[in-house]
């Protein structure tokens, strides 16, 4: 058996000074960052009024609440809750579909390979960015001011906030599309609309369908949230029952939401595979 030759440390050191003697800035960067992050964390704890006593009383309170939640029991309001759940699912489905329909034409304006001019694309993109910067809950509050309390405000809130997200995602999908089909259409004498209809859309529609399904799924969650500010659905019931401390009903409602979300997850992942086939799911 042969022995490995012993490395000549001195020679290696001379050859690769960067490996053996890293500059102080590189060596200290990591610890300095960790200390900095911890310092901000501690400052945050102090500034946000964290105290052990508060934490302990809160925890015992929480434990008590959890005890009160068992067993989950809807009382006599089960039909009402089922109706509210249906309302929530309706809000998610309708809001997402409307958003997708509105976002498709706008996303064409934001895609580089459709509109080469920066003059249109830039303002459209910033517009979509600002819509996305505002949370769904805030849109819900605004729409409640406009169309009044109820699920319709929720539909419109989801529609507006998803419009921003879809605009961006769709335009990215369009930019990632293959140029060759578009060029083929142009070569055979098609105009700009033909290029979009027969060159781009067949490529991007499956991607878009996958994204829309994914959003319907995640909007089931958003739709439960916006009920809390008064935009209908199961969130409204949940917020009310929390406020009146009916913990058994609260836990039942949470359970209902969990089951509904899991069911929608299951259905939409099946559908997505059916639409996109064996390709990777976005």
């Amino acid at each position: 058996m042969s022995q490995m030759p012993r490395p000549d440390t001195a020679e290696l050191r001379a050859k690769y000074p960067g490996v053996f003697e890293r500059p102080a800035s590189a060596r200290l960067a990591m610890p300095a960052m960790i200390v900095g992050a911890l310092a901000i964390f501690v400052y945050g704890l102090v500034d946000l009024d964290f105290s052990p006593t508060k934490l302990i009383t809160g925890m015992s309170q929480l434990g008590w609440i959890t005890m009160m939640m068992i067993p989950p029991n809807p009382g006599s309001s089960f039909p009402l809750y089922m109706q509210a759940l249906g309302e929530t699912l309706s809000i998610a489905l309708l809001g997402t579909t409307l958003a997708a329909l509105l976002a498709l034409p706008v996303s064409l304006l934001a895609a580089r390979n459709v509109i080469p001019s920066n003059l249109i694309r830039f303002p459209v993109r910033r517009f979509l960015d600002s819509i996305r910067g505002v949370d769904t809950l805030i849109w819900a509050l605004v729409w409640i001011n406009v169309v009044g309390l109820g699920p319709f405000a929720g539909v419109l809130a989801i529609m507006v906030s998803d419009f921003g997200a879809f605009g961006k995602l769709f335009s990215e999908a369009i930019e990632a599309a293959d140029r060759k089909q578009v060029e083929g259409i142009r070569a055979s004498g098609g105009n700009a609309l033909h290029e979009i209809r027969f060159g781009l859309l067949p490529q991007v529609l499956p991607v878009i369908a996958g994204q829309v399904l994914y959003f319907i799924e995640s909007n089931t969650r958003s739709a439960t949230i916006i009920g809390i500010v008064g935009a209908g659905g199961i969130g409204l019931q949940l917020a009310e029952q929390i406020r009146v401390l009916e913990w058994q009903k609260v836990s039942f409602l949470i359970l209902m939401i969990l089951i509904a979300v899991a069911a929608i997850d299951f259905i939409s992942s099946k559908l997505r595979f059916a639409i996109i086939g064996q390709r990777a799911v976005v």
Binding site: D47, L62, L94, G133, L141, W143, V146, F152, V250
Partner: protein, 294 residues
Amino acid sequence: MATAISILPAQQLATLNDAYRKAVARKRLKATVAAAVFCAALFVAALGADVNLHTFFTYFGNFLSYFDRILTLDSGARVWTDPLEWFWGLKKWLRLLGETLLISYVGTLTGAVFAFALNFFAAQNTSPGPWVRFIVRRLLEFARTVPGIVFALIFVIAFGLGPMAGVLAIAIHTTGALGKLFAEIVENADMKPVEGIRSTGASWLSCMRFAILPQVSAGYASYALLRFEINVREASVMGFVGAGGIGQELVVAIRKFYYSDVSAILVTIIVTVFIIDISTGWLRGRLFGKETRR
């Protein structure tokens, strides 16, 4: 120069055309049925969600004029003519925004630490046992699926009004979301280093520390930064239920129709979110640009 294209004899062509038409017709039928089912679902949903087009068109003007109103000062002038008057409460709002950022920072860090502690148990290749994995996975799923603001509502009752409820709500939701992502990174890690370390007689803990952690830490930090971005948005609405931050001020302004305040607060929130997005994006590029480029 004209080129003659040979055309198949009519009989052959007819069979081919026939087959083509059949294939297209089957596809069309499928698409039509799918569209019909979808439209029916939409119709049912529209009934369920009380969609009232009449209300919509009557009040749609209100939506547009709402933006007109929030961009008008009490004096009737446009907001940008008098920025000092528009941003009269800037000092207070900036303090609340700072609180919002702190809530999301502390919440993200706490959540990331818990996710870090749990993810090795949730990943298929490193979990010490299937039942541990099952329990941890269900826990993370629960924390992820229940919306953060629902936790906040409950915590406000348990811990009292204030930012602490917001921090805890964000921390729990972050634990669920990051725990899943972290576990996925671990599942993609190379298992050879683990075997190497185990062959030296090391414990499970040492295997994780010296074989897995060096491979995954960059991905962890990257996801945690991304989560921080998301949590800033989430923290900005925690105030709606009394869990601290700028949301409280915003909801009061919207509900009491302090129009110009609404736009001013929204602008400060949007600008802050932009700044955070850009700076974390820059930081991620700086820190992990080289490592994550595969």
